[in-house]
């Protein structure tokens, strides 16, 4: 029986990690993630898990410790945010290049400068090309469910890649919501025992991780790494199917909302999708065919599937809670790349919203949908990229 609770996103993720009971955990605090690892540290102190904590002096060391522990042959976790993820950056590529199935909730937060602790997606978007699988979560329930599914995806014998589970800082990490927890035994059975693959501690078969590979082979190794990413989507869907059987909650590679017959659509990640769905309902009530697409799997990006889901629309706005200064928003770049390959495609605009935790209001969604409705009628786009909710 599912247990219904009122908890924060951080609490939910910490509980998912407790239920999985990993072997090793790299721990370093950073707002807004701190509270998640603090709760997990309590589980360790109280003997609720068998996890070996490694308390480190920085996130660079935290990821390094995780890499060592995962190569040794353990089920390994850590969690971080913002500057912490930025400091891990070079180690992220080593975790993925060595094919180590580390699971890491990332509580999304803005990057300095200016210093800001609130939710936006600049941190995870900066790790976009690091070779990690990225799952994004609208609310606490999705963050909890994604964290559990992440272990099955990361540890799949055809994949063996690290996974980030993204949730919005404070908006989700610190807000209390109604959630359904699975039973401990259900989670244990779902993730199964950790299966080793080329562990360093198998001393009967000595091996080396991280050798120097130069012009003769590096290109081939990267090609092989790309190939693994092409297999991830099917595994994500298979794991989601099993998860649905257990929990009754359905997951895909993205969530379409009233999209099938939509003329206009918003593409948006994480918590802001919830607000947008409400406003889409209001527009539908007014007879405007509005819809939404919320990506769940951002890396690898499901280009073909997202293009298929959007190509029938007349106008699409991709909304980014991160900017690429001097470029379009990162999500816009992906969606427009996806749609370029279709014969018939919608007009597209890009809005940057909610940086540094700036509230995303229903009025912002309404403003965007109104503009999209005009573009759908006229077929002309005035400004491709614009900031919204910004004081002039």
């Amino acid at each position: 029986m599912a247990k219904v609770v009122a908890v924060t996103g951080n609490e939910a993720c910490a509980n998912a990690l407790r239920q999985v009971n990993p072997d090793v955990c790299g721990i370093y605090p950073i707002t807004p993630q701190t509270d998640m690892m603090q709760r997990f540290a309590s589980y360790i102190a109280d003997g609720k898990v068998d996890t070996e904590p490694i308390l480190v002096e920085s996130e660079h060391s935290s990821m390094s410790a995780c890499i060592g522990a995962a190569a040794a042959g353990g089920r390994v976790i850590t969690a971080t945010s913002a500057q912490g993820l930025a400091l891990m950056w070079e180690m992220l590529f080593i975790a993925s290049g060595d094919r180590l199935p580390i699971v890491m909730p990332v509580v999304n937060r803005a990057l300095s400068a200016p210093l800001n602790i609130h939710g936006d997606h600049s941190d995870a978007m900066g790790a976009r090309d690091s070779g990690w699988i990225q799952l994004w979560s609208e609310n606490g329930q999705e963050a909890y469910d994604n964290t559990i599914q992440a272990f099955r995806i990361a540890e799949h014998m055809d994949i063996r890649l690290p996974v980030m589970v993204c949730l919005d800082g404070f908006i989700i990490s610190h807000s209390i919501e109604r959630l359904e927890y699975l039973e401990d035994q259900q989670v244990k059975d779902f993730v199964g025992p950790f299966k080793n693959f080329l562990p360093l501690l198998d001393i009967a078969k000595p091996k080396s991780y991280g050798p120097l590979i130069l012009t003769d082979m590096y290109h081939e190794y990267k090609r092989a790494q790309h190939e693994v990413m092409t297999k991830v989507q099917d595994v994500v869907l298979d794991v989601a199917k099993d998860f649905e059987k257990m929990s009754g909650r359905k997951y895909g590679i993205f969530e379409p909302y009233r999209l099938e017959d939509a003329d206009i659509a918003i593409v948006i990640l994480n918590s802001a999708a919830g607000t947008t769905k409400d406003v889409i309902d209001e527009f539908r009530d007014k007879g405007i065919k509005a819809g939404l697409l919320k990506p769940r799997l951002f890396r690898p990006f499901p280009y073909t599937e997202i293009a298929d889901a959007l190509k029938h629309t007349k106008a699409v706005c991709v909304m980014d809670r991160a900017d690429s200064f001097g470029g379009y928003g990162p999500l816009f770049m992906e969606v427009s790349s996806a749609l370029y390959q279709t014969d018939k495609r919608p007009a597209m605009i890009n809005k940057i919203y909610g940086l540094g935790g700036r509230d995303y209001m229903p009025s912002h969604a309404a403003q965007v949908l109104t503009e999209l409705n005009e573009i759908a009628k006229s077929g002309s786009v005035k400004t491709i990229k614009e900031y919204i909710g910004v004081r002039e």
Binding site: G97, D98, R99, L100, R160, F197, L198, K205, P206, K207, S208, Y209, G210, P211, I213, D216, M217, E220, Y221, R223, A224, E227, V228
Partner: protein, 97 residues
Amino acid sequence: MKAKGWRDLPPGSVVLEGGSAVKFKTGSWRAYRPIWKEENCIQCLFCWIYCPDMSVKVKDGKREEFDYDYCKGCGICALECPGKKGQKAIEMVEEGK
């Protein structure tokens, strides 16, 4: 030997064979070559201790010739060599001369 294609590689750039560094002969990196002068050698084995590789061969407690397959010519052995009566037992000579 045909070079491996990307489909032939073990996942994660892991080298699955122990001690495989022996197959990678690094002696060609050398710009300076250590020359052992046995007549000045007091068999202190400092060169054997200090060599960052394993390029000083020792048999029955006595040093033998350098292993030029792996010696990169760093010169640490020559620097540390106490020699005999002020005469070094290891001298660095430019390769190709």
